[in-house]
Symmetry: C2
């Protein structure tokens, strides 16, 4: 897990290893300033209308410096909202495997990540905020549509792929809310395999219509 | 819809029709006292540990009076949390139809109810509260398990029916959160039929393993 860039925490600590103390502290300040500015820009303008360049301007730094710390907008967004996982990276990984395994792979990543309470608590807090504030819902919606659903749809390449991807999202979001938020039993205590076996094929059916077991 | 007891609002206004003004006001006071006491008892003790008798005691009224206004604990709970729909009644209705139609019937009821913004806003507010406060999550969890999942499981009568019902709940909860809360597109703008056709069969598969179209 330590080298998996899906986890922000792991990435940050890997970057810090072996760096001299003084310059590390300076770099941390700059990085923190960028993240703070990004959070403010995303909150004000939403995910779609915010750019790396605009964030650099707000932070008073060169755009090249923003790109030095963050590979893309999704990267910066995940950091700004303190996301414990990167759905867009999970999607990339899941799409790299066999087509008929996308659903199971996605669900396995999610369950393995969220079975750690520190991760699930942050995701539930994020969903709680999104259900209470329209601007938070809008940001999350734009991020999910652009970085997750449109990527899957592009890969599947069918006419109704975006619609299918949004229905696949319902099964994943519901698994997260019911297992980690409301903690409905016996689901909440079911083994990871049980969850993957019952949710993965549904996600796959939503995406590509593969028959269920 | 106006005569459908699934909707609290409809039931209340039907009860009020034709009642003399003065006694109606008195009755409304008593009823409101009972609801307020119920909300306090449910919040303190959770759904399972709260009884109609305990609520009567807290409200300072005879238990028979509580039963005069509310048919059962689920009825009083729905009123106490201002629920815009009654999942337990939906389940009863869905179970009354053909077995292989339970999923589609349940989802159709949900979508027809929640496509009215006044209803969906209340349900989303309820989920928002449950994701932010453990006692609210516990109440909702106990209510869903006792009044919804256990009823379905009993009707299906298989060994793993409770597990199946809790997985069916993930698909329904996710549809609600993604369509009415985060409003993920194109799902949020999809027609009711589209939603019923893509979510209903999944709920049915979770419950009974019926093959998907």
């Amino acid at each position: 897990m330590a080298t998996d860039p899906v986890f922000e925490g792991a990435k940050v600590s890997a970057r810090r290893r072996g760096r001299p103390v003084k310059s590390a502290a300076l770099a941390d300040d700059t990085r923190a300033t960028i993240v703070t500015s990004a959070a403010a820009e995303f909150s004000r303008d939403g995910y779609d209308a915010t750019s790396m360049r605009g964030i650099a301007r707000a932070a008073g730094v060169d755009p090249a410096l923003v790109r030095h710390y963050f590979s893309d907008k999704a990267d910066l967004f995940a950091e700004a909202i303190a996301a414990p996982m990167r759905p867009d990276r999970m999607v990339k990984k899941a799409l790299a495997g066999p087509r008929e395994q996308i659903g199971v792979n996605l669900v396995r990543y999610m369950v393995e990540t969220l079975d750690r309470p520190v991760a699930s608590e942050r995701v539930i807090r994020m969903l709680h905020t999104a259900l209470g504030q329209e601007f938070a819902a809008k940001m999350l919606r734009q991020f999910i549509i652009r970085e997750v659903l449109k990527r899957i749809a592009k890969e599947l390449g069918e006419e109704d792929s975006e619609l299918r991807a949004s229905f696949a999202a319902t099964q994943i979001v519901g698994m997260v809310v019911a297992r980690y938020g409301i903690k409905i039993e016996p689901l909440a205590s079911a083994s990871p395999d049980e969850v993957v076996n019952r949710i993965g094929p549904v996600v796959q059916w939503h995406l590509m219509g593969n028959p269920l077991p």
